[in-house]
């Protein structure tokens, strides 16, 4: 089951890219293809061909100095999404979040830890995350005193008897979760009241400007070069390689496309490259619906009767699932525009912060996605 992951806007190959790519690939493999060994995995990187900022983001409003320490931004964003009021005491952050929603607690712990997993440890970490996402709310949550107790109890619930090999030393994957706790604590300690929003503002601004930039660059490339635009070519090449990697025993290609990546894949499959195909297309936090309404795709014509007229899904796509979070201001629905697509809502919680960028670090997201994929087939 070859998997193609097409990233969204504002993705650049910075020092963290290799780690997050490895963690994401491992999580996808872990959740979506259980008990399979090596799966061909393609992650076309098109951020390098997208928007470049000539003044290096001088157009961004200048915020305060960076408030968060190294690695604390992700827990701050995750926490910001599920916690509206004053943050909990810093030794009980995960505990309080998990008491409200156990899945949020797992996402906070594993989403933070995923950022620090070395490529060589990604598979072990993904296996642990898969088991964590399957846990139901444990009874000890009501009596646990602090976060250290929470993750120790969790580790106990997650420990499995070694079938293949036992190690005469620590469990690296669990150690990452443990080390992530100090960053969660650091983020929470600095997130008092409005300060949090203010502190994350520059990074949100930056994402928004990159979002605009990446869209404009893609559209301009398409206008000039059609299917030969560098971004379109990069993604099309990996779609083709994934099809070639299919075997008789394993004939399915899954394409998972985030945000702008979804719009591009739709654009390719519906018009620019009708020769390409996939068995399942998953668009996540995408704007395919909005682009269609604005008439930005060749394959989409304005409806005579918007109440009843629907655009058929691209012929090369067997099944299409569209996932969006109601809190994600950049994720949109598709069912009332297209035929043959199913919308699924995925909710991160109360806040309306930066859901757009956190789908792919949450074990709960992959877990739900796996269920939807099974239903779809």
């Amino acid at each position: 089951m070859p998997i193609v992951f097409v990233h969204g806007v504002a993705t650049r190959r910075d020092p963290g890219y290799a780690k997050s790519e490895a963690a994401r690939a491992a999580l996808m493999r872990g959740f979506l293809v259980p008990a399979t060994g090596q799966v061909p995995f393609f992650a076309p990187y098109w951020g390098g061909q997208a928007a470049a900022f000539a003044w290096e983001h001088a157009s961004l409003p200048q915020g305060d100095e960076e408030v968060f320490g190294p690695g604390e931004e992700t827990p701050a964003i995750l926490l910001g999404e599920v916690w509206e009021s004053e943050p909990p005491p810093d030794d009980r952050v995960v505990l309080q979040v998990a008491r409200n929603s156990f899945a949020d607690g797992i996402d906070l712990l594993f989403g933070t830890a995923a950022e620090d997993v070395d490529p060589e440890e990604a598979d072990g970490f993904a296996r642990l995350a898969v088991r964590a996402a399957k846990l139901t709310r444990p009874a000890w949550l009501d009596t646990a005193r602090d976060d250290v107790e929470v993750i120790n109890r969790l580790a106990e619930d997650l420990s499995e008897s070694a079938d293949e090999e036992e190690a005469f030393g620590p469990d690296r994957a669990l150690l990452h979760v443990y080390e992530g706790l100090s960053r969660i604590r650091g983020a929470a300690g600095r997130m008092t009241g409005r300060l949090a929003v203010k502190a994350l503002r520059p990074s949100l601004n930056r994402s928004a400007s990159m979002f605009l930039g990446d869209i404009l660059v893609y559209l301009r490339q398409r206008e000039r070069l059609r299917a030969d635009g560098p971004i379109a070519t990069t993604i099309a090449t990996d779609l083709r390689r994934a099809c070639e990697a299919c075997t008789a025993d394993d004939p399915q290609v899954i394409v998972i496309a985030h945000s702008m990546g979804g719009n591009i894949v739709y654009d390719l499959l519906s018009g620019l490259r009708p020769d390409l195909s996939c068995d399942v297309l998953v668009t996540v936090g995408s704007q395919v619906g909005v682009f269609a309404e604005l008439g930005l795709f060749d394959a989409v014509r304005a409806p005579a009767n918007p109440a009843t007229d629907r655009i058929p899904k691209p012929p090369g796509v067997d099944r299409w699932i569209n996932v969006f979070d109601l809190n994600d201001i950049l994720g949109f629905a598709t069912e009332r525009i297209f035929d043959g697509v199913r919308d699924f809502r995925y909710s991160t919680g109360k806040g309306a912060f930066a859901a757009h960028s956190t789908y792919f670090i949450r074990p709960s997201f992959y877990d739900r996605l796996a269920t939807r994929l099974r239903e779809a087939s």
Binding site: P15, Y17, A18, G48, D116, D118, P119
Partner: protein, 477 residues
Amino acid sequence: MSFHLNLRTHEQALRGVPVVVDVLDDGLHVVDQRTVRVNQRSSFDLPAGQYALQVTLPSGDRLTETVTSAPGSPDHDIALWEISPHESMQRTVVLKSGPAGGGRRFTEPGFQSLWVRLWTRVDGVWGVGAWPDAVAHWDDDAVAYVFPTGRRPHMLQIGGPRIPWRMVSLPAAEELEVTVQPAGDEQTPNVTLTVATEDNLAEATLGYLTAGAVTHAGLISDQAEDLLNRKTTNPAGAAVGGYFLLRTSSLERLHNWPRNLANWMQWMPDGALIHAWQLIREQQESREPVPARLDEARELLLVTVERGLPVYTEGLRLLVSGLKLFDFQAEGADPEIRDALDRIRPFVAAADLTQPTTSFLGSGPSVASTAPAYGLPRSRRGLAIVYDVAVADLVPLGLVEAGTSLWLNPPPVIGPAEAQMTPHGTVRLADGREFTDLFAAAAAANRTDIWYSWVAEDSGPLAFARDRARRGQLPPP
């Protein structure tokens, strides 16, 4: 009766490397064990009959050959190029242990934008210098650099988008040879890095010591005293000789050279350390302890820490055990020793003690960390790309301007290539590689490099941009 053995190489720099050979007769008795030298004919006077030669290279690799001693029997040649993938690699393969090959290629995605830079300590301050104008060979399975390190501390840093950042101490040399080879597997690429000075005796001694073959090191290192004695011309070799004599407790053969090494080569921490251990070991062996000498040893260990990390891993190991020795002696109540231990502790925790020269995971010479960093450094200063630049990095590194038009030329033929048909039906290329498949031989001989096919408007083939990156000539931001 006699026969002649010749370990042959085309590599001039390997000429004279001492190698230990065991000779077994047809009843498996070891009848001779001696040092032979590369590219020098050695005669073995032995009764007529069949013998086995067991050649143990300083790398720890062993070659076994059977020979016949008979009147008029031809010289027995062992071609060292047959065990090396490239001519430029022969010295590394003979002298250095480590996984050779493994089938990885630098052209694989995991090695793109792999980079190196060189740190130098000047007046006690570490900084990244310009990438040296090195003699270099770029093959897709090994990249070798040769450059001088001179009389000051140097560290090489290597890292990449998928390779953890690592610091490696470089010994002082007029011609230091650094070889980088791709390793690991597809999911977790890694590199092996070997470092060799031009001093064949010191390198062979170090090789045997690292492989655990102390007798072999001893056989070739009857000249270990010579090594130490040459300290003014070759301080790194002197350090290796000193470590070897300490390891074998040949204290009387150390003479007063470690003291001179410590005094004259203050930029090299190993000198003070070897002297400290000479004093400690002499104390341990003597019947009457002289407290003043132990005080001097303690002082020298503290001086070592001030001077920096020892160049050789053997030194790092000795530094820790020396400091611990005094820590135990003082029941933990010696604050200076405690401070020194605290200073080096992170480096020891992050060090790879299996490497001959001090190596640790870290983002700089003063920062060791067990949580490795990945990616490209933000600063382009002194940065050289090891093999291929990730296409996505061409613009950010300033090698190609965004918007540059490219066109594709058909791949050029870089020929003609020379090869030889062997008696056993293979095609042998000039570098020794043999093929039974003509197509594979042609591809290997021609080395079609797609970077020459893509041509950028104004600046020529992309290979030119890549070559600038390889030579550390990135434009300033």
